[in-house]
Symmetry: C4
Subunit: 258 residues, 4 copies
């Protein structure tokens, strides 16, 4: 089975997959962005559940088309480890990442158009506190209170939380020993929720290069972008290689345990 080449994708199949990553990333950035703004008034749980459930439901919807990466860190990781059944070559990897980034930027523009900086969402009839522009953008970027003075902390937090996300992706969607079956998008979405609960207050909880890049492009400010971008991509690659070495060494282990 491993000796014969996997079948080539037709051009139409490529298009379907890339269209899926594009529309999925657009919807994710939009929904997660508006939900993150709600957290100004409604606290961390609104951000964590809004962002994580967006990731989850879009993963469910894309599962049969592009497997729902929605995240360049996942796509690059799969390019490096080349797991069976994923067929990620350089061309598809570049097309996925381009679709993810352009989709995220458009989704971010939709957020900014619908919720201008001086009209934060609220139900208060006698007016809302305008959101501080710095807070407004930091909600979409990996820039919490630790940023600037604590660049290394942001890097490490993003690295560990993205690593956990990618690790759950491998354990439920790549590993042939995995037992999650159709629950894989649920586990991945909950891993995103955990990440927001864990690092949200400290860093803004990016866990995806596209999620950090999009607001930077929309704002035209690339100042604090390096740490989350490097951390999430590196976490994807390192976690993939470690998982591969530790757990995927031999697929033919007899299945003794449930």
């Amino acid at each position: 089975m491993s000796s014969q080449p996997e079948p080539e994708l037709t051009s139409r199949q490529y298009q379907r997959k890339v269209a899926a990553e594009f529309t999925g990333s657009l919807l994710f950035q939009f929904l997660a962005g508006v939900a993150a703004l709600s957290s100004v008034k409604y606290g961390l749980a609104a951000a964590a559940l809004g962002i994580g459930f967006s990731y989850m439901v879009i993963s469910f919807a894309l599962r049969g088309i592009s497997v729902g990466h929605l995240n360049p860190a996942v796509t690059v990781s799969l390019l490096v480890t080349q797991p069976k059944g994923y067929n990620i070559d350089w061309v598809l990897c570049c097309m996925y990442i381009t679709a993810q980034i352009i989709g995220s930027i458009i989704g971010m523009f939709m957020v900014v158009f619908l919720i201008p900086m001086d009209t934060p969402p609220c139900n208060n009839p006698d007016g809302c506190n305008p959101v501080d522009p710095l807070v407004y953008y930091s909600l979409f970027m990996a820039r919490g209170t630790l940023t600037g003075s604590h660049g290394l902390s942001v890097f490490l937090m993003e690295f560990f939380c993205t690593s956990a996300l990618v690790w759950v992706f491998y354990g439920t969607s790549v590993d042939p020993h995995g037992k999650a079956h159709n629950l894989a998008p649920l586990a991945i979405g909950f891993a995103m929720i955990v990440g927001v609960f864990a690092e949200g207050p400290g860093t803004g909880a990016s866990m995806s290069p596209a999620r950090s890049l999009a607001p930077a492009v929309v704002k035209g400010s690339y100042e604090y972008l390096f740490a989350p971008l490097a951390a999430t991509l590196l976490a994807g690659i390192v976690t993939g290689l470690v998982y591969n070495y530790l757990f995927l060494f031999d697929e033919h282990v007899p299945d003794l345990y449930h």
Copy 2:
């Protein structure tokens, strides 16, 4: 398989389906309505989880009978795209929508009967702040702080969030490539939760024509009804057509990826 006509439904099967949409919509409007009132005191998470979990559990219960549309935007979308296995013709579409709207109106009357405007639900022994009548009704309608002055914002917010909901419905319940299987109602319910987190503070989060129409009928006020009604129906139709074009063009793609 596509050349032979699908079997006709008997009159009894029609009745069962329509009864399912009626009872489901009634329960949904009642449970979601009372939960939305709790959010006056308990915040956005109470509304989001109460509304979304209602949608989810009723979808689970109706899955084998009427597939649990519970939402005219979904029913109209399926009428337009005519996916395989759904058999939605003009007659069934009208019966579904009538059942959904009448069920929702009765459910809304139950809310108003049980929780009169001057007795909001609370646990406070020394009395509760009476809910502002405007807030009281706005909790069931797509009318948040943006309304009136920002009709276009309400329209766009409702359009995008309903579109995400319908898109998840197609990806998990219509697309033959879908991998959600029995998890489809879970994904749809979480998509509703995401929508409330995203647009709840801004618009009241309708995402269904029936959910906006019912309180308008009960209150006898049709002032701000156009934006959510048009947005949700249009989102259903447009999302169905786009999904159909992008992802359902050819069912016979070999299944290369999991």
Copy 3:
């Protein structure tokens, strides 16, 4: 298949089922009771998620033994409707209900022993506000702010929320058209969560005769017990009969839709 009698249970199988209902009800009353007390400080979501997830996880654990009724309203409903595969006769019904009630009372005693009325749970190093004894017990009983002056409201709220719970039980665990499969306990648990979000602030959210009876016995106060007891039992019976009439009339409908 329907013409031949279902096999008799051995005495040992009876014992296993009854032991399951007893231990499950004990754990549920204990976990849900302590979680409900947390809501004094942490709000409605703590109560709703604590109570609903308790119900859910115990239902998952008991699914293969007693199907996890945990609730006399469910057991009585199944006695009345006699669905296939459930084998609930008068003897088993009485044993189930006895086990549920005794288990709940012991679980409630554990709560009272571990969290005495003057030592509410809190993390505050400089002391906690002692919980009002009335609030303390009302957290476990169907007695919210509406009680006393609004006995009918409590009755109707309990009736509708219990009805939704039982309806989801039938749609996912009894109806042969159901598609929830192993997700049934999840749907039932979320239905409980929805009920707490909906009626928790108004009535205390019983939805089970055992859950109301246990604190009344422990406190020795049976004053407001009639409304929730009658409402939940009646909701179980009426919902079962209506579901039976509307949806279970003919099991042999060909499965046209997914």
Copy 4:
């Protein structure tokens, strides 16, 4: 089937399992620890969902490798009851527990390194209240307001909540009558959430010896460690034996009920 011995594990299979418990425990202690710190500002739901979802997603990822014990109380329980298909002998038990404890200690060191005691996580631009060192550590240990003066309460609370967790593990992952299938990690994760909602305010919600031991080692303070350590281990053993006696007496019961 029960007469022939189960196959021996190769050395490589042992390593894979132990590596899984090590990496899983490390990630769990880190994610749960940072999420617990968020609860200082964001309340009990942040801690409960952050801790429980961490446990859930890591259980999903490890399901096919080591079954994701992540908890010495579970491992010891399985050693005592020796259920079919688990193959836990003394050697594997010791390796699992060593891996769980060392992983947890490293994860705890990561928390302390990334979030020093005087820089609690917050989004507040004008500074955060420094977390009280006592609160800081108590968030990771079974030491709430009840500790010290109420050692027995801590013991009993930990015993009952751990017992519920282990009981759900048996009902979904050990019992051959179980119907949870791939949902077992979801049920176990929700059981952890329930435990935090129930006992979190009172005891800090350990439910695992490793989760209490790790912060004690990092802080070098073993003062209040006895109660949670003894309670969780004892709960694992007692619950396993009781479950075994009540429900696992005979695997060959015909499956009458769904």
